[in-house]
Structure formats: structure tokens, C-alpha cells
Amino acid sequence: MSAEPVVNLNQPVADRVAKTTCYMCACRCGIDVHITDGKVRYIDGNRDHPVNRGVICGKGSAGIMQHYSPARLRAPMRRVGPRGSGEFEEISWDEALALATDWLGEVRRSDPRRLAFFTGRDQSQSLTGFWAMQYGTPNFAAHGGFCSVNMAAGGLYTFGGAFWEFGDPDWDLTKYFMLFGVAEDHASNPIKIGIGKLKSRGAKVVSINPVRTGYNAVADEWVGIRPGTDGLFVGALIHELFRTRQVDLDYLIRYTNAPWLVIEAPGAADDGLFARDEAGAPLVWDKASGGLASGLGPDVQPVLTGRRTLADGRMARPVFELMAERYLDPTYSPEAVAEGTGVPAEQIRRLAAEIAHVAFREEIVLDQPWTDWTGRRHEKMIGRPVSMHAMRGISAHSNGFQTCRMIHILQILLGSIDCPGGFRYKPPYPRQAPPWLLPHGASRDVRPDEPLGGPHLGFPLGPQHLLLNEDDSPARIDKGFSWDAPMSAHGLMHMVINNAATKDPYGIDVLFMYMANMAWNSSMNVGGTIEALTRKDENGDYVIPKIIYSDSYYSETVPYADLILPDTTYLERWDCISLLDRPISEADMAADSIRWPVVEPDRDVRGFQEVLIDLGGRLGLPAFTNADGSPKYPGGYPDYIVNHQRKPGIGPLAGWRGADGTKTGNGAPNPQQLDRYIENGSFFAHHLKPEQAYFKHANRDYLTWAVEMGFRTVPLPTIFQLYSEPVQAFRLAAEGHGTRQPPETHRARIARYFDPLPFWYPPFEGSLVDEALYPLHAITQRPMHMYHSWGSQNAWLRQITAANRLYIHHDLGAQTGVTDDDWVWLASHLGRVKCQVRLMEGVNPDTVWTWNAIGKRRGAWNLSDDAPEMKEGFLLNHLISELLPKGGGGYRYSNSDPITGQAAWFDLRVNIAPADGAGATEPMFEPLGHAQLPPAPGKLAYGSQFRKAKT
């Protein structure tokens, strides 16, 4: 045997470690970037970071290939060929900014509505939204309208929180976890860490999902539900809890509107609203006094049942009774929903009994005193250790808002919101339910050269808060907060291009977008969207005259813009993940974070937020300009992050405020603030005290602190709205009450779907097409190694997934006569796609699915024209219409939830048929020109440069 060679066991990893925040998806994990000679050697997770606690996902570890991608944009560009040709000339930043200022300035001086500013995977909405407000256009939103607004709105209207960024299961204490419609997505590492904990401890994990992959594959029980029927399933669970009388009555009385009295006066203008006293407080029947009393009083002892007579002689009933009658109705019995959901009645009954057992027979008692909002001291914290999480599979349906509300009602009936073992809020949540924030942008709010009077997005309490023109037509280009989508808290980005091209409700002059691949996988009806982007009027001019787009990479959308503002990679930029927007808090802490340039760009690119602040100064937007007209933030984005104050003492970052850096949350700007963040691993965390950790919605110590931090205005509790009065206010308008009523086209729709108590209704597309012709449901998910990322161009990640298949059940394969890799046509009412199948067992038999956003268009992303992404990769987007088929009345609504405007991606109905021969996927679009990109390398040997010092 020869002697073993010498291996250098102590090779230093790198010259330096820079701690920043990942951006490979929306999770915002802390990362340690190891850098040698200015090159990234290795990226791993920051062990101190609240989000990922040291771990890193498949995307995060492939960040090197994202950072050095040959598809990175290199310099500002002006389009010189027709849209879509990809013919650009590189220009200087001075020219680019002057051009943008010229276009944007003219619109602002004449009619600010004619700018539509929509940002995609934007993690800086507190800046982008503020900029849009300062500009004065009503047309701003990010991508939430086509992502998860049903979850946000459903939660915020119900209990002032929501899943994911707003709260998490109590991973350390929960004993029973239900995961609804989570397609390996939001969130990434926190859910993986949590599932690992639960499984290791023997907690039960139940997944409700048509597809058994990823998280759902390791669940202890998989419920392979039919898409869009979760509301029926949850309704049946609630039915069982009521039938078996397993609900937490004390919790309902303490924290919810279950005892509030609802006026019973059919035909009256206040039918279905809460009976209120003269001060406007909702009334309950008080057992102690034997009469009506304010439901907000600290000492009231309300009852949950009984029809009561109001002072004016009319009748009213408590919410609890109405709710019980709704869900005890036989339509929600397990037997009644079994066929629709595909879940056997016996299984539903057992699951309900298991949940009830854990909640009420396995309660957790923490020996932790706390004080409620009334000042009452409680010696223990009682937990009902059932937790839930839900995301895309619930939200991406036209019944998603009501279904999401129903899931929250299930949680609340169990008493499991913000208790030990249940679902926990993450500060700044809970807000009030709904948050006290109204949308702005009605025609009266919009004036040339003036900022909007308030933020664009908010939570209407009734028709009076809609954003309409004088003639009641939509004020926003996306028809957000109009009768089409009255409670569209995140806007409807998926409708902007189509609406602008059809000038419905009106035309625009400039479309300004950031980081959203709207000419490809982020749009419904890709072909129609491309047609809209290139549509010309009778003079031969584009109907959308000017398009400005900022992205880091040469995506399918770049060739359709007229002016390209090249963004940096995530390792080259400043960013601010703010408590004013979407922070990184965990249940035990308020936390925010930054990104900073850990490596310098080697291209002529600038961070988009840097550019936006520059444009703000050039345009003279008040908050971005000094009195003498000079720019207010000459130091760019870092200058803004440190020195901008939304209110005195409140700025983008909460940590190390005050001139000496000793203040948290509220304090003067600190010139050293960013240094402190960088020293601390690019994040700040304020830990809650144990007595503040649970029951935050009604916890005096928490609420008082939340007021100090500026999260709330008053230390009053959040009362859970099982019955939603704002929803009823819209319904009353549809029933003919009030001065602002829906147009006749919309009246029946508003009256039906605006039910103050959540109910299930069939998703729209299935009701409007011939279900016999389109018997199958079609849904998508992103692979975990590409979720919410730009991953399919990544040299490493595309070696894992470069082509997608249509996954179908074995039985469907047999019926159709196809097997693995056979080509099929998948058709919807809009069009058809040619793709290859893969048979599997773990899928709902009436459902087909695929990995989303794998398919790419030739010419984009610097991939070769014969790449698998181009030839085999396909999108379901081609099958999904942005407009619903014509229903009664002939009006074509957007393919969205009627309440929130959430894009109903997963309502899609299809059929499948064998296709001839092999060949390639269809539709196949013409290749995009890409002359500005350098040639992509034919091989990579990344890392060989780090071998030099080895002995």
C-alpha cells in the first residue's frame, strides 16, 4: 500500500466573509458570502439569522451561478427595432435617466393617471409605493394580486394577520399541523425547518393538496383533494366541530365577534349589520345585567345564543347562531361534500375528531402569567396545539378569499390563534381586523404635479371607500377597488397590460415595470399579452406608447420594453426589508434587515431603488427634493434608508436609531445605522418578553409596546371578525341600498359572493365552460429548488430541472392511452399546449399538473435555442385566460376572485388527448433577438481559481 497523499485539511475558505440577505426567493434568509480575490467562493446560511437559523436551500447554494449568469444585463438600453425584436442600443445612464425623466415628467404634468407603475417580486414596496404616491398616479401595485392577496386579505379582514409573513405555526409546540395547498412555496426554509421539527417530535402533519410531492410527500396523512374544493372540506370540518360541540366558547367570547348582535331586518338598509349603541359600539346581550350592552366593554358577560329585541323593537341575533346555522347545514356535512372534494366522509369525520382531541384533550399549559387588554392578570397561558398553514392552492382560486376566511374560522373555533402550539402572529401583526388603512386613488385624489393624499392600497369598509371616477367607472387601470374587485388589497397586476391595450377603463402613456416577467410566465394568456404589448393604433403607433422596464436579466419581457434600466444582482445591491412593508419578523421578535453590495458590479448597472430615488429628485417629487430643488438623497438608496422618516422618528429601519444608535423603532436618524446592521449580520431583531409572546391580539404588554413601535395607534385589542361587516356593506349596496351601488351588470354577482359569513362556491371557470368538455383540473407548482426565483437559467439548477412534464394519474394515462414521455395536447377554452406526460400515483385522479416557469422562449436568458427549456419546457399560462368567458349579461370579468381580484390561476379546466409524433412543444414563439448579450460559455470550471493555494 502506498502512503496516503497529503491533503490540506486547513485550507482557509476565503479572504473574508460578508453577511447579507439572500434574494434567491422571497424568504430573505441571512447568508454568509465567502469571498476570495473579489470572487464568491461559497455561500452558506447565517446561524444567527431569525429566518433560516443557519440553513440554506437549494436555490441559495446555487446563488453563485445566479450572480455570474451570462444573462445579466450589462448597460442601459434603448430599443431601436420593433418591440419583441430584441434590437437595442446601449446608452449611458445620463441618457437613460434623462429619457425616463422626460417621459415621466410629461405625464405627471398633464395627467398622472397615464402612468402605470407596477413592480413584481419587489421587496421594497415601502419605497416603491411611497415613490408612486409622491408621483401622484393611482396606478401602483406589486405582484400580490396574482400571488397571494386572497390569503392576505382573507386573514387581515378576519383576524388582523395572515399566513406566511404575517404569522407562522408554533413550530416548537404544535402537536397537529394542517398544510393546505402549499405547493412547495411560501415559505421556503422556515417551513422546511418547521416540518423537520414536527416530524422529529412525532407531531402529526396532514397535507391537503391535490399533489403528493415535497412537503406533502412526508406528511403523515395526505388528503388528495380536488382543486378548488378546500372550502367544502373545511366547512365539513367546522360542521363536525359544531355537531360534536367541540369549540372553545370562552375564546370566542373573549376574542371574537361571536356574541355581537346582527340586525335581522330583511330589506332594511342596515340588515345584516351589527346592532350598535349611540357611540357606535357593537351590542351584545349581557348576562350579568340581563340587557343590551356594548360588546367592547371590559366587564361584559355576553351570551352566544338567543334572538334579542333591540331598543327600536327590531330583532337581532348573535354571530355565533348565524355561523352555527351556516355550517351545521346539511350541505356541509361530510357525506354531502365527499363527492365534490374526493375526500371520503369517514376520513373527514376522523380528521375533525383528531383535531378536536388535540385542541381540547391535549392542551398546553405554560406557566407564564400575562395581562390582557382589560388589565386582568392570567396566571397561565393555555394553548390549543393545532396549527395550520395555507398558501397558493387556496389563494389562486376565484373562491379563495372565502375559503381562506373559512380556514381562519376553523382556527378560531379551536381557540388556536396566537396561543401556545397554535398559529402565532409575527410583529407588526396583528393589525386591527381589517387594518385601519384606506386605499387612495379615486379621481378626486389625482391632480397634476401633486402627490396622492395617501397610500394606494388599503382595506375598504364599504362602497364609500371604492376608488371610482365621478361616473362610477374604475379609477385604477387594473380596476382595483372598483366593483370588479372591491377589496383588492394588492391590486391586479395581471390585468394591467390587457386593460391598457384595450383602453378599458382608459389608455396610458407610460408603463413602468420592475422585476416581473409579464411577457412570459407571470401573465395569463401569454400570446394575448404579447399582442397587447405590440398592438398599434390606426396611426401605426403602439397603443401602450412607452414602456420602461428594470430587471437584472435578459428575460422574455426585456425585448418588449423601450427603455431598459439594468438592475444589479442581489450581491451587488443595497436593499431594505422594512417593518413599514414586509419585514422578516418571527413570532418572538420584530426584525428587519438589509442587503449591501458585498461585491462590486462589473457592468454598468444600478440597483433599481437607487435609480428610483434619482428619478424622484429629477422629477421634483416633494419627498425626494429639497426646497431649493436639489435632490434630497444625494447619497442614493443608503442615504434614503438611513435618513428618510415616514413619521418623525419612524424610518425604513427600526434598529439602532437615535443619534447615538441606542433607540429601537422610534428615534432620530443615525448616520452609523447601516454599519451597525452590517456588523450584526445585516439584520436587527428586538425580542419580545415572555409575557408578550402569546395572545398578542389582546395582550396589554404587547399592545402597549406595539403602539410605542408605531405598529398600532391605540392599545386596543384586535377582535376576530368571524362575521365580516365590510363584506355585508357591499352586499347591501347590491341589494339596492345607499348612494353608491354596483352597476346592473355587477349587482347579482356582488349580492351573491359578498357573504359576510364564508361559504363555498364552485370556482368560476368550471361553471362557465362545459365541464363535460373540460373535465380535468390543471394546476402548477414550482420546484423547491426554483420557487419564486429566476432559477431556470441557473447553470446548476437547470441541470436538476431543464424540462417539465405534465404529471397525470396512472388511471388517466390508461384512459387516454398514453404513457411516460408520450406527447399530448392539453386544451382549455382559450387554447392548447403540446407537452409530454409522466404518469404518477400521488395526484388527484381528476387533476393534471406541471412545474411552472420551466419553459422558456428562444432568445431569452442567454440559453441556446435548442435548450430543453425551449423544446420541451411548456407553460400552462397559454391556457389561462385573463378574462372569464362571457357570463350572463355579456360582461367579461377578469379571471379573478370577485372580492379581492386575486388571479384565479388554479381554476383552469382542461382536457387531454394524444398528440402525433414527437417534435417540440407548442405554441412555439419566434426567437427573441439578443445581440446585446455576450456569448454564453460552452463549459464552466467554476472554482478552479480557488485551488491555487493548495499544497
Partner: protein, 249 residues
């Protein structure tokens, strides 16, 4: 033909929990990222932006369905070198480039003496070896030998990159030759198994099988009526009567 050490001081290896691996590929790309700049640098990629992208990877995850007791299940199966006690890939090596470390049992390739003949990859029944076409040598899992003893990194980070990355905690690293080590204990407790033991190569790495979910307790159906109330009553009436009683206590 290369000989093996008669005994190794330790039997370092991985224990992978198939019950909680969600198939996220974190270990796969973290391995690639560490090792493309580490002991085996580089792990080359061929045609990375073209029709047939391929490269050297020392760890891959396969997801597949199987049936157990008539029930279909899905498993995510990470696969890398098992650091066998009797590795055929070493004994078959004509130059001595492949070797098993005496100190800890890690199977390594010396890139300076590897001639790229691929005999080892034919000999390995687990398909754990990866030929780097651009580098012309064989690459394989090193158990991150350049991390686990590395005094330039914090002690808690001296584990293989895949273990450091794994978000669910499905991967553990340790001495499987020591019955008192945490990894050996988890193997004993969970009936951990080796792959294709019947071939006799004595793989060191162990897999923990998916757990069977225990039946859960359920609440009993409630008592229907109380004597003071007339029959029959609807579920709604029963609920309201119960709520009234419960709240009057």
C-alpha cells in the same frame, strides 16, 4: 490494484432520515458549491447553457413513488458515496489514486495520480462516482474532508456542506464505528439500514426509514340529549343548549 487499510480509526459517514427529507436539493447544490472550489475543484459543467447541460455532482436526490402495504408513497432519496468499509472502487484502482483513509475511513481520490480510466465507476455498485470530463479525473464525495478538520472555520461548521445546509435536519454526520455516537444511536433507535448490504461492500452511510404514523386519539361522539330537554332536537338546537349551559357555569 490498490489495497485497503486493515482497520480504520473511525468510520465517518452520513445518516440520512428519509422520514423528513422533502427533496429540496439543498444538499445537492450546497455540495456542488463547496466542492467546486474545494478539495476536488473544479466540478466542471459541460454545455451549461445549452441543449444538454451536464456536470460533475457528488450528491444527487431522486424522488420516486413506491408501494408499501398496498399504499402508494413518495420518497426523496439522496445518494452519494457511502464510504464502504470494503470499497471495490479502491481495490480496482490501478494507480492507487483511489484510497481509503486509515484515520477515518473516508474514501478519496488523489487527482494527481488518477488517470481517468473509470474502472472505479464500473466497480461501484452505487453509481457514486462522477467522471469530470473536462478535468479528466474521477470525482466523488469527500465527506468534505477539507471542512471537517478545518481549524480556520468555526468548530460548529466542521461538518460536510450538505449537513450544514439541510433545512429539515434530515442529514447527520458522525462516527458510525462508535456505538455511542449520536449517529449510531439514531441508527439503532430507528432501524437504520445500509444500501444493498447483500453485495458485501459494507457501506458506512445509513438511511433511516420513513416512520409509520401512529393512530391518533379522537374525541368520543358527544352525548345526545339531557333528560330535561325534549327529543328529538336538531344539531343546531343541541349546540345552542350546550353553549348556554357551558357559559352559565
Amino acid at each position: 490494484m490498490t489495497t485497503l487499510p486493515p482497520e480504520t480509526g473511525k468510520k465517518l459517514g452520513l445518516v440520512i432520515d428519509l422520514d423528513i427529507c422533502v427533496g429540496c436539493q439543498a444538499c445537492v447544490t450546497s455540495c456542488k458549491e463547496w466542492n467546486t472550489g474545494g478539495h476536488s475543484a473544479p466540478l466542471s459543467d459541460h454545455d451549461p447553457y445549452g441543449a444538454d447541460p451536464s456536470g460533475a455532482w457528488l450528491n444527487r436526490v431522486h424522488s420516486y413513488e413506491y408501494e408499501k402495504a398496498g399504499v402508494s408513497r413518495t420518497v426523496h432519496f439522496p445518494r452519494s458515496c457511502l464510504h464502504c468499509e470494503e470499497p471495490a472502487c479502491v481495490t480496482v484502482c490501478p494507480t492507487g489514486a483511489s484510497y481509503k483513509r486509515i484515520e477515518d475511513g473516508i474514501v478519496l481520490v488523489n487527482p494527481d495520480t488518477c488517470i481517468g480510466c473509470k474502472l472505479c465507476s464500473w466497480a461501484c455498485p452505487y453509481g457514486a462516482r462522477e467522471y469530470d470530463h473536462d478535468d479528466g479525473v474521477m470525482k466523488k464525495c469527500t465527506l468534505c474532508v477539507d471542512r471537517i478538520y478545518n481549524e480556520t472555520i468555526p468548530e460548529e461548521d466542521r461538518v460536510p456542506s450538505c449537513v450544514r445546509a439541510c433545512p429539515t435536519g434530515a442529514r447527520a454526520f458522525g462516527d458510525l464505528g462508535d456505538p455511542d455516537s449520536a449517529v449510531s444511536k439514531s441508527v439503532a433507535a430507528r432501524e437504520g439500514f445500509g444500501l444493498l448490504e447483500e453485495f458485501g461492500y459494507k457501506p458506512v452511510n445509513r438511511y433511516l426509514p420513513p416512520r409509520e404514523a401512529a393512530p391518533r386519539a379522537v374525541v368520543a361522539e358527544p352525548q345526545g340529549e339531557t333528560a330535561s330537554l325534549p327529543n328529538p332536537r336538531s344539531a343546531v338546537e343541541r349546540l345552542f343548549a350546550w353553549a348556554d349551559r357551558a357559559l352559565s357555569h
